[in-house]
Symmetry: C2
Subunit: 329 residues, 2 copies
DNA sequence: ACATACTAAGTAATCGGTTACATCGTTGTG
DNA sequence: CACAACGATGTAACCGATTACTTAGTATGT
C-alpha cells in the first residue's frame, strides 16, 4: 500500500506538506502541482481509516430500519442516501428485520465510534436501548415512530389524524360498515392510526372491537386479516388498512372473495408508497411525504453532527389523502 | 472518550493486557475479570477505527446497486445484509440511482481502504471503471449483470433462457401475437432477455421489431410501452415484460384500455419480486432466486476477503417459471 | 538443584494520517 | 536599515488500537 510517506519521499517534501496538499491548506502552487503529480504517478489514495482516526470523524452514518420488504423503507433510504451522498456522507444499512436481538446488536456496536450519527427507525426501542444511545453521545434522528420522550430530534407525521382522515373519507364516499386492519401492536404508528379510526367511529352504534382485525403491516397479514373480516362481517363495505402493504393484501383477499373494489368494498391504505398508484384498482391512501422525511432527517442529522450547538427538535410533517380508484364511487 | 490507556491505568495493567483481554488472548482469568470489570465501570467501548487501522480490515463491505425503487434490489440487499450481519460484517449502501457520475464517485472512493470488499450490481461499468477496480486489488463480487470478462467472481442467471421460457409459455397458453417490453438498452440482462424472446419468435412470419416496445425496467416505462403496443398492435394477446415492474405497469395500461388479463392478453414478467404474487391478477413471472443470489454473493465475498487464495468463480443460478393468474387460461 | 519450557504481562514500535509548534526566508513599515 | 509579520515548510507528537519482542515467574524433568 502506498502511503503519504512514500509520496513525501518521492516528491522530496515532508509528510506534513503532502497532508496539506490533500487538505487544501496553504502550500505554494508549484509544490501542490508537483506533489499531485507524484500522487498520480504512484496511484496514491489517502487511507480513509487513518484519516478518520486522527480527525475523529468518519463521514459515515448508520441507518437503522426494521424491514426492507415494506417499500416505505427503501423509499426512505433512497432519500437519505441521496442527501448523504450530496454532503459527502456514506450510509450503513442496518436492517433489524424486526428482530430485537439484531437491533440490540447493532445498537451496541454504535459505541465503537465508527459512525458520526444515526438515523433510527425502529419501534422496538426500549428504555435500556435509549439509555445506551444517550450515553454514547452520538447524534441521533428518529424517524416515523416517536414513541419516546424528546431526547432526540424526531421526524414524524400525525398518524392519528391520518387514521381519522382515512375513516372519514370512507364515510364520505358512503360506506356504512367500516373495518380496520391494524398494524403490529407494538408500533406506536399503528396504535395511533387505530386511535384515529376508532375516534371517528366510536359514536356509531354498530361499531365495536370486532370490526378490527390484525393486518400486521404486511401483505400477507392484510390478506389474512381481510379474510377474517369478510367471514365475520359479510356486510363490510369499507376498510381502512393501517398501511399500504396490508391494503394490497386486503384487495387480494376481496378479489378472491369475488367482491368488487371499490363498488362493494372501498379501501384506504396508509403510507403512499409508489406502488399504490399501480395497483388495479389504484389504491387510495394517506400519503406521507416519504422523501421529504428522509431528506429532512439526513439534513438535520448533518446539522447535529457538524455544529454541536444545534438543538433537538421535533418535526411533524403533513399527510394528505391521495385519492385513487379504490374509493371512487 | 475513554481509551484503552484509561482502562489500563485504572486496572493497573498495561495496554497490551487490555488489548489481550479484548481479543481473548492468553490472560490470567483473574486479570480478565478485573479488567472487564473496569471496562464496565468506565463504560469503555473499543474504538473500531483505531482497531481497523492496525488490523488493516474494517469488517465492512460496500453494496453498489443501481436503484432502490425496483423491489428486486431491496430483496437482494436484505439477503446480503443478513449474511453480512451473521458473519460480523457491516454493509454500506451505495445507490447509484442509475447516475454514472454517482457510480464513478463511489468507485473512486473505494480506493481509500475503508471497505474490505464490494458487491457490485451495476450495468454502467465501463473499461475505465474496471481498470480502477482491478488496480485497487479489493475483492469484488458482481451480481446479476456479468457483462465483462471474468476478472471478478460473478453471480447471475441465464437471462436468455428466461426470455425463451417466458415466450414459449405464452405460446403454450395459446397466445398468437406476443409483444415484448424491453428493459433499458444498456443493461446486458435486458438484452439477453430480449434475445431469448426473439429467438423463440423469429420463425413466425408475423413477427418483426415492431412487436417490441420500450419498458425501461420501470412501472412507468411498462405502462407507457404497453399503451404504445396496444395502439400499434390491437391484435396483441400476449406480452413478455423484461421485468416485473414493467409488467405491473403494463397490466395497468391493459386495464385502462379495458382489456382483460389473462383472457384477452396474457402477461409474463421477470424477476419474481414478492409483490408479483399480490397483483390482481397475480403475475406469472420468471423467478430469479433473489435471496439465494444475495446470500451466495455475500458468502463468496467473505471467502474472497478472508482467504486470499480463493479463486474467481462464475455462478449461474437456475430460474423457474412461477405460474400465476396472469397467464392462466 | 539446575536447566528447560511455558505462561502472563510489560515495553515500545507500528498502522497512515493530521496538526501544533518551530524554523526560515521574504516582504512591509517606520 | 532594522524589526515585525507573514507564508511555506519541516519536525515530531498524536489519534487508539495491535503485536513483535522481551522479561519475570512458575512448572517440569532428570
Amino acid at each position: 500500500m502506498i502511503t503519504m510517506r512514500d509520496v513525501a519521499k518521492k516528491a522530496g517534501v515532508s509528510v506534513a506538506t503532502v497532508s496539506r496538499v490533500l487538505n487544501n491548506k496553504s502550500v505554494k502552487l508549484k509544490t501542490v502541482e508537483h506533489v499531485e503529480k507524484v500522487m498520480k504517478e504512484l496511484n496514491y489514495h489517502p487511507n480513509q481509516i487513518a484519516r478518520s482516526l486522527s480527525k475523529k470523524n468518519t463521514k459515515t452514518i448508520a441507518l437503522i430500519i426494521p424491514s426492507i420488504n415494506n417499500p416505505f423503507f427503501p423509499e426512505l433510504a433512497s432519500a437519505i442516501e441521496n442527501i448523504a451522498h450530496a454532503f459527502g456522507y456514506k450510509v450503513f444499512l442496518f436492517n433489524t428485520d424486526s428482530s430485537k436481538e439484531k437491533l440490540t446488536n447493532y445498537i451496541d456496536s454504535l459505541g465503537s465510534s465508527f459512525v458520526d450519527g444515526v438515523i433510527m427507525d425502529s419501534h422496538m426501542l426500549e428504555e435500556e436501548d435509549l439509555d445506551k444511545l444517550t450515553q454514547m453521545e452520538i447524534p441521533i434522528v428518529k424517524i416515523d415512530r416517536s414513541n419516546f420522550k424528546d431526547e432526540f430530534t424526531s421526524i414524524s407525521v400525525n398518524n392519528k389524524l391520518g387514521g381519522q382522515v382515512a375513516t372519514k373519507h370512507l364515510l364520505d364516499v358512503g360506506c356504512k360498515r367500516i373495518g380496520h386492519l391494524k398494524g403490529t401492536d407494538e408500533e406506536i404508528t399503528a396504535i395511533h392510526r387505530l386511535w384515529g379510526y376508532r375516534s371517528v367511529l366510536k359514536e356509531f352504534d354498530w361499531f365495536d372491537q370486532s370490526w378490527i382485525a390484525p393486518g400486521n403491516y404486511s401483505v400477507e397479514g392484510g390478506y389474512l386479516g381481510m379474510k377474517e373480516l369478510l367471514i365475520r362481517k359479510p356486510e363490510i363495505d369499507g376498510v381502512f388498512a393501517a398501511n399500504d402493504l396490508s391494503a394490497i393484501g386486503a384487495m387480494k383477499a376481496i378479489y378472491e372473495w369475488n367482491r368488487k373494489v371499490p363498488d362493494e368494498i372501498a379501501i384506504v391504505g396508509f403510507d403512499g408508497i409508489s406502488m399504490a398508484r399501480y395497483m388495479v384498482p389504484s389504491l387510495t391512501t394517506i400519503e406521507q411525504p416519504i422523501s421529504k422525511m428522509g431528506e429532512l432527517a439526513m439534513k438535520e442529522l448533518i446539522q447535529l453532527i457538524e455544529n454541536p450547538g444545534k438543538k433537538i427538535e421535533s418535526f411533524e410533517l403533513d399527510i394528505r389523502l391521495r385519492l385513487q380508484e379504490s374509493t371512487l364511487r
